[in-house]
Amino acid sequence: MQKSSYIGSKNNKMRGHTLKVYCLVEVKDKGKVIYSKQFESHSFVAQWLQLLYGMFGQNKLSILGNYYPAENIDINPLHMNAGSGNQSFGIQVGSGTTKSINDTALDSLIPNGNSAGQLAYGSVSVTSPTINTSTNQGSLSVSRSFTNNSGGSVTVSEVGVVVNTYASNGSFYDIFIIHDILSSPITLANTQVLTVTYIFSIQT
């Protein structure tokens, strides 16, 4: 292999990061932020790789349900536009405390609703990418709010992301791709609002 004079030169210094995903959790009480914490998500799960494999080669995937175990994914494989009250995809929250690479769901989903042990799921919002050409950095964010209308307290200890994909058989499938355990569980008092934001960041 030939050595080149450009290796190690200042202008060609390797830099940046591949893809980082951050998770920001905020709690509001009567409109005022009373808790805010951001951490790096470490938890793409195996189904993310299977989705990539399916998309790269238009390969058939066994994760697309049991009835059609070998369907191709279709366009669009990454729906995140869940509406208000739809807990089946988008960002989800739960009360579990364990995770593994083979997870296909949250440990213990906190369902949508206004009863004890439930949270009202808002609609998922997605920002357009922000590109900074001077630093070669870019990001976009996906967020969702969860309101405690239960009359009691609800504790959130895990968050996750589920994408909704449209397969070649014309059916929709919900596929779990990210799972994070909060380092400190968050207890929401009645009427408090939790907002979870996932930030996808690149640096070229």
């Binding site: 591949t18 470490h42 195996a46 080669g57 366009i75 669009n76 996808f200 070229t204």
Partner: protein, 198 residues
């Protein structure tokens, strides 16, 4: 643990030389990747992408197809001799930027001087290690120098296809930390490995 890591594995085989393999961390998703993610998340009906060389011009991508079918999304399964998508190699030396839409200087498919024969793309099933919660999947392409002169590779890129049209758009662009010179009949295998650690 990073959220998501990509490694580039370069395997070089020149006649009468030992095979050399090295690996480096890819750091260069470009802005198109975020554009695709954002529009896909939102299920947008139409958005514009600038196509990667040797394709040209912009194209209108649709992330809300109404008719079921086998549409590409981030698809790289180019066949043998097709240098318009999949893994590409080039001879540029400028640092990648986030607004790049093409490799800097594509080494085209062919058997003449300054060309390489592009093999078919290969996609490799995910490998999951449940004991340490790690996993990866790979895409790979072989390039052969069938000309009578040496050729040097300094950059690599991944061009994917999207939608029914389809659009061919750059998603990854990396400079090789060490240029690779292929002698006549030499081969290089470029592998992009996508890693997670839960």
């Amino acid at each position: 643990m990073d959220s998501f890591k990509i490694y580039v594995i370069v395997k070089v085989k020149n006649p009468k030389q030992r095979t050399k393999v090295y690996r480096f961390k890819s750091r260069s998703f470009v802005g198109n990747f975020l554009t695709i993610l954002s529009n896909s998340f939102q299920v947008n009906d139409g958005f514009s992408l600038t196509q990667a060389y040797p394709s040209s011009g912009s194209c209108q991508a649709n992330a809300n197809e109404s008719v079921p079918g086998y549409y590409p999304w981030i698809t790289v399964n180019a066949g043998s001799g097709n240098d318009s998508f999949g893994i590409q190699v080039g001879s540029g030396t400028s640092s990648p930027t986030i607004t790049d839409t093409s490799i800097e200087s594509l080494i085209p498919n062919g058997n003449g001087a300054g060309q390489l024969a592009y093999g078919a793309m290969t996609t490799i099933s995910p490998v999951i290690n449940s004991s340490n919660n790690t996993g990866y999947t790979q895409i790979q392409r072989v390039f052969i120098n069938q000309s009578s002169v040496s050729i040097t590779i300094t950059e690599v890129a991944v061009v994917a296809t999207f939608g029914g049209t389809p659009c061919k758009y750059l998603i990854l662009h990396d400079l090789l930390p060490t240029p690779v010179t292929l002698q006549p009949n030499g081969t290089v295998t470029i592998t992009y490995q996508f890693n997670i650690a839960t």
